[in-house]
């Protein structure tokens, strides 16, 4: 299907959300899945490395990082989702001073 008619169809039928809440606004769904793997990996590592010598600890730690390397990343708010979303946010903060500290 050509892009423009599809975009026009979606725009025509779109209903704008008046209030949106997300429990973890700086995380994507992949972050939530990665976080579960990291938590489980850490818990298993803590048990496994509990009485290890420093040398063995380092070997197990490096193995843990190797296993989790695709899941490790820092999360942060997206700078700008879209220019329209940024304009809405800016207008809201201007209209409601209590939002400025958010």
């Amino acid at each position: 299907m050509p892009l423009q008619p599809f975009h026009a169809y979606i725009t025509y039928n779109q209903i704008w959300t008046n209030h949106y809440y997300n429990a973890y606004p700086s995380a994507a769904s992949n972050d939530v899945k990665a976080a579960r793997r990291i938590k489980r990996g850490l818990e298993a590592f803590v048990e496994d490395a509990r009485n290890s010598s420093p040398g063995d600890f380092k070997i197990k730690y490096d193995a843990l990082l190797n296993d989790l390397q695709n899941d490790l990343s820092l999360m942060a708010p997206t700078p700008i989702v879209s220019l329209a979303a940024a304009a809405v946010e800016s207008r809201r903060k201007g209209a409601n001073p209590s939002l400025r500290s958010a």
Binding site: N18, H19, Y21, Y24, S26, V32, A35, K58, M75, A102
Partner: protein
């Protein structure tokens, strides 16, 4: 008959269509007043939904009417304007809805007070009965995330953030110092304690 798909594992997708009273105050319809109210709610940890246990994400909007699809289609209209509430959460519907009332009755009343028949709701069971009358079953519900308890998800996200920083800060550190630093990391982050330290629901900067 359409298939019903309100669950995805232990996650539930709740959709409500609640008719708004066709009344006005100070020359403004209830639908308009409600829309303004929703627009001005904070969407971070001060959102009324941040207090509701196990809410992954939620949205509210006012549905004015259905869209005419053009020549060849029958033109139809709704008899009322509707408040639409859509929420993704962990667990079963009845526990969640009772929890919604018990954790934030004031917030629930402030939003639904413009809706038909909500005046009769006086307690958690009454709210659940009201919700059942307004619920629209989903034909498809997909949860792209995990279906754990919210506290589990938030603790895991906290650990992901903190362990990423730890791994970055401890590159090239020798075995003795690494083991010592990791011990301090465990003492500070307490991986098996889901209550604290952790992320707050809805907080934008963790």
């Amino acid at each position: 008959m359409m298939p019903v798909k309100n669950t995805s594992g232990r996650a539930y997708g709740l959709t409500l269509l609640c008719p708004i009273k066709n009344e006005s105050r100070d020359d403004r319809s209830y639908a308009e007043i409600l829309r303004d109210y929703l627009e001005n709610l904070r969407s971070d940890d001060a959102s009324p939904m941040a207090k509701v246990p196990n809410t992954y994400l939620a949205r509210f909007y006012v549905l004015n009417d259905v869209f005419y699809q053009g020549y060849g289609f029958r033109e139809e209209h709704l008899k009322s304007k509707y408040l639409v509430f859509s929420s993704n959460f962990h667990g079963d519907r009845d526990t969640y809805v009772r929890g919604m009332w018990n954790s934030n009755e004031k917030g629930v009343r402030a939003i639904w007070r413009y809706c038909v028949a909500f005046d009769d709701v006086q307690d958690a069971q009454g709210f659940l009965d009201y919700v059942k009358r307004c619920q629209v079953d989903n034909a498809l519900f997909f949860n792209g995330s995990t279906d754990d308890f919210l506290v589990e998800q938030l603790k895991a996200l906290y650990l992901k953030q903190e362990f990423t920083r730890f791994a970055y800060d401890n590159q090239g550190v020798g075995p003795e110092q690494l083991q010592k630093n990791f011990g301090e990391f465990l003492g500070r982050t307490q991986p098996s304690n889901v209550d604290e330290p952790t992320w707050l629901p809805g907080h934008p900067n963790q």
